[in-house]
Symmetry: C3
Subunit: 471 residues, 3 copies
């Protein structure tokens, strides 16, 4: 059994000169409120404010970062209690699941999951030995008992975590009942929604036509026609805005955009509703919808986020037996220079529009995204995402982006997580890595320290609120 330590200098460069600068910069930002403008936490937690479940339910079963690693090393998903949609029997005993996880904790060495989990174990659950088979049961008991305390209820955690804003992500078909309940409760916790229209703008989405019909029912628009469909989408944007939404989000396979004529749009939409789109036509339709969304954003001011490039559900057996979001999404090469051009040709110079672009393909940082964002007024760069939400990923992001796009075409950190407890850990990693990068610039006399301090605060807090219009 080894002691579990969170060293105060963790993630800072070993060189003493640089480390001292990083420490000073970090002092300026470590206490700033967390602004989490994009993520996937469950709004019912904050609406209902009930205790979280047991350690396995809370920390293992829903965390695809965790079970994808164990699965890759031969641990079966049923043994980790991951629910099966095809009726495979899965482990029910949360203590057994927890022990299996603990027995493999070595697998996470060198990964961000290890850092986030250690942070949660130490800071939230006050554990002080490293997790292992030996400490598994003690961990389980400690976490389980803490989860029953009132200060571990979702709203209390949110307050203790010093989270000023927390955006969830919902489909236009969602009635936002949890957000309504939060609002009606009078709790001013800063939970807001974001508009994610994939289910009604992607012809390949399961149940697309039915979804579009349902959109018509909800809004009273005739969504069997292009004009009514657009009106319905706009209508829901307004509804989302009334629950605090300041942004939309688009998770397409590629960054393709299009700018078709009205007649082409109508014809393509009819095909999509009829389920007759080829793969290329579905892609074109999604691309057109990004441009439509940009046009709506100019009208209503919602900030667009584009998250392209994930090959979803790459493993058909895992998808069949366990469904979506089971660690089987794989990035693929993603092109932006030609893909975004139709949208940019139309709206790229309109300063009322703001589009935050993300990537899973790091090769585009210096080649495509920084030059695009370093020219177009509408483009800003989202932080290093998903697989790259990690110390090395963040370092590469800043090293490859900054010289062309600067700091002020970026938007601060997104945790983008469904793992609520990990939010402070993730923001802490981002703050430390930004200070790490800035400290190197200062130590190498590339930026005066007073300016670095200002940048650190901007990246942690000011730019986030500004980019997501949360002021």
């Amino acid at each position: 059994m080894s002691a579990l330590n969170l060293h105060p200098d963790r993630l800072f460069p070993a060189d003493e000169t640089t480390r001292a600068i990083a420490r000073r910069l970090y002092q300026e930002v470590k206490g700033l409120p967390i602004v989490s403008p994009h993520g996937h936490t469950d709004p019912s937690w904050f609406a209902d404010n009930q205790p979280f479940g047991n350690p396995a339910d809370l920390l293992i079963k829903p965390d695809h970062y965790v079970f994808r690693m164990l699965y890759s090393l031969g641990v079966s998903l049923p043994s980790l209690g991951v629910p099966s949609k095809s009726g495979i029997a899965v482990e029910q005993d949360p203590k057994k699941i927890w022990r299996l996880f603990a027995d493999h904790y070595w697998a996470f060495r060198g990964t961000p999951s290890r850092m986030w989990l250690d942070y949660v174990f130490k800071e939230v659950f006050e554990l002080d030995q490293v997790l292992s088979g030996d400490t598994a049961d003690a961990y389980y008991e400690r976490i389980n008992s803490y989860l029953q305390k009132p200060e571990f209820l979702p709203r209390s955690l949110m307050e203790n975590f010093n989270i000023e804003y927390l955006a969830t992500t919902e489909s236009p078909l969602d009635d936002l009942r949890h957000h309504k309940k939060i609002r009606e409760s009078g709790w001013g916790g800063g939970v807001i929604t974001a508009y994610r229209p994939d289910p009604v703008v992607d012809p390949d989405f399961e149940g697309f036509a039915a979804n579009v019909a349902k959109l018509g029912d909800i809004t009273g628009e005739d969504t069997s026609k292009w004009a009514g469909y657009l009106a319905a989408l706009m209508n829901r944007r307004e509804y989302f805005k009334s629950f605090g939404a300041t942004s939309t989000d688009h998770g397409h396979p590629t960054a393709t955009t299009a700018d078709l004529s009205h007649a082409e749009c109508e014809a393509l939409f009819a095909k999509a509703l009829a389920g007759q789109c080829s793969a290329a036509e579905a892609e074109l339709f999604r691309g057109q919808m990004l441009t439509e969304m940009a046009g709506m954003s100019i009208e209503d001011g919602l900030v667009m986020q584009i998250h392209p490039g994930s090959f979803r559900n790459h493993n058909p057996n895992v998808f069949r037996d366990f469904g979506r979001d089971k660690g089987a999404d794989i990035p693929s090469q993603t092109e932006y220079v030609n893909a975004l051009k139709p949208l940019l040709d139309k709206y790229g110079n309109d300063t009322r529009l703001s589009i935050i672009v993300f990537t899973l393909d790091e090769t585009v940082y210096s080649r495509e995204l920084a030059p695009l964002a370093g020219h177009y007024p509408v483009l800003k760069l989202g932080p290093s995402w998903w697989f790259h939400d990690s110390p090395e990923g963040m370092r590469r992001f800043r090293e490859q982006i900054t010289e062309t796009a600067g700091f002020y075409n970026t938007v601060g950190f997104n945790d983008d997580t469904r793992a609520f407890l990990s939010i402070p850990a993730r923001h802490d990693v981002a703050r430390r890595m930004d200070c790490n990068f800035l400290a190197r610039l200062v130590a190498e006399h590339r930026l005066p320290e007073d300016e670095a301090r200002e940048v650190a605060i901007d990246l942690t807090y000011k730019l986030v609120k500004q980019a997501y219009k949360l002021d």
Copy 2:
């Protein structure tokens, strides 16, 4: 107001051991003459030797690095005085433009522009506060008054900058009158030309057919025929050589080369002149012309430079209103292994030929360019270019190139700039970053310091003169 400092150790690693080595290496190279074998300064400056204009004319309006960043953050091009070709009214007051720039100087934090500008402000204009809204007017006055001094005339600056050679870049249609005037003046300043035939070898270039006809007029060759066209191109190469040219330069969208039959060349050339090339045919013609140019280089000894991979004028509105070179050129993915093969199959083993290859796509450094240059005798690698002409870009270049291609398949630094005043700053960054890289090798006992010293001198001076045949 903060003090403006150029720390003597800037860009050196913070680690004291490594920094001390870098300092020693830099001492060996900092005083060496600048050899600038590729760039875009205006030869009329040196021909006429008149004072430069006001600060905005000199440092903002022509520098797309500067106004692209401001534009990306919402500052309009007219407000920066960027001339419009479509008749948009632009700001005429250079002081207002300068103030607007100064108010946004924070935007350049972490960029090479900031380093270059600070160097110019401190070393050339002897300013000692950081530029900001507060110091804008004082800056303007200081720069404006210095520009009237005799030691700020172009030729004096060139001498004071210790520039041994400075290559400009001209089209074969250029009569080189400025170069002639320089020569006739008796001033031995080392200004030479370089041959950039894009306007007469790229069917997509504005006015291609007219350009080719003009080429015929100039040379007395029948450029309506393939044979006469080649003879005319060769003729102009000789003319350029008589004004000191030792190199050609080719700025194609891709690295495509071709090796067509004589009959195919004739047919394709006829199509090109008739304006009937498809996009693929235009690409093929440009590719064929690279191979033709290589053949001519074997005859006349001019070194070839290939600068592929820029998607020019990506923003149609900016192009319409402000024209070329307005910060809207975006790199795109660029392939070399298949693209260069036709040319290499024909000439790749001919040691009389020397081709310097550049890229805007850093992913090819370790995968394609270093292996190619580490095998083919004709290939050498140009330095990190344009968006990658930066400390991190230079570091990635050396880290990803050296282990396969070594140092001796590279050619030293190119500033590639039209910003004359920034030339010493840019070469200083390159020298420091090479010493930085070498110092790490020495500190990690991967290269003895005496050999590193030799390499530093080679990279700064000897390899440049050798690669560009400037001895």
Copy 3:
């Protein structure tokens, strides 16, 4: 003449804190036996145990790392004694060849070849001046005389190098006579074979149809039919296993896999035998054979290695005059996410199967390979390969792989070399670079030192034996 030193801290970070950690970690692994599970040494060396030839024969003529660099700088292959298959006269005097090499030793500054060679010169041949024109003759004499000593016979070197396992690579058509002779000699030196079926599974391989016919002769199967062909391949796998093979190896141009119907396989195989495959069909056949090999591996337990992405023999003139493996193989872009899908759809979740994937395209580390290996139980990642078997290449590998795939989806080091003397040098570089990376994690408080120590031992020894089933 400069002293030749192998500094005990070479390749460790300069920062004293980190270096001290690296030193401690390295102490734990430097003495561990070498396990070399994949390479290209000649088994006849160990079968016959005769002295190696002269310095040029041993260290220059067979080492494409060495002569590709000299060739790229204008040194001709004949002058280096590289044998010509087209009858070009080549230098016969090994002393002259050695001197030519020595005169250009500066060309290797900053390359891994320099590190490996210096290690061999110092550790094996006890030389203590840096190689140069001045020391060329002394080097020649020293190496030449040492090679005659009994302790420089292949088996003695293998023992002195502390090599526990050394895998060679043979075609299924090979009778493994050298391996038989080794076995019959009673020498227990750990030399084993590996199964590389490219000559009989790649329709583009020289003599494919004849090779398949020969495969039939050897095995007594009717290899003119698909079923007999598969049986023959399986038969040879068993034979290879009887000589210690635990793995297969596949050197295809891409990572394409396929999963065709039985009828399609039969038809495609018939076309391949008839020499009538288009390029796409040859690619498809190779892809199908990877899936077939995976199926066989599930049966017989051989670990699969896939080494895709080399454009072989890129230089036709060098190929014509000097043949394969002459430094003219160039990596090209290589895609895995779609390419591996057919195989993974069929076998990706079968924990009996183990596939080790390599790449020459570093852009896929973080984007494709780490996410794939961090999910699929059958996938593991081979170490940085060929051009990337270098300090910077190893650093990039760990930095870009670890955060998503962890350490335990990797398999330790492969030297992959035909240069027997360089094996200890190469493993030493890998051990140092792993300790370097781990030391940074420890110094930045990202991993406790006791766990880093365990990881270092795992990467050096345990994971290799486990991944290649050498226990």
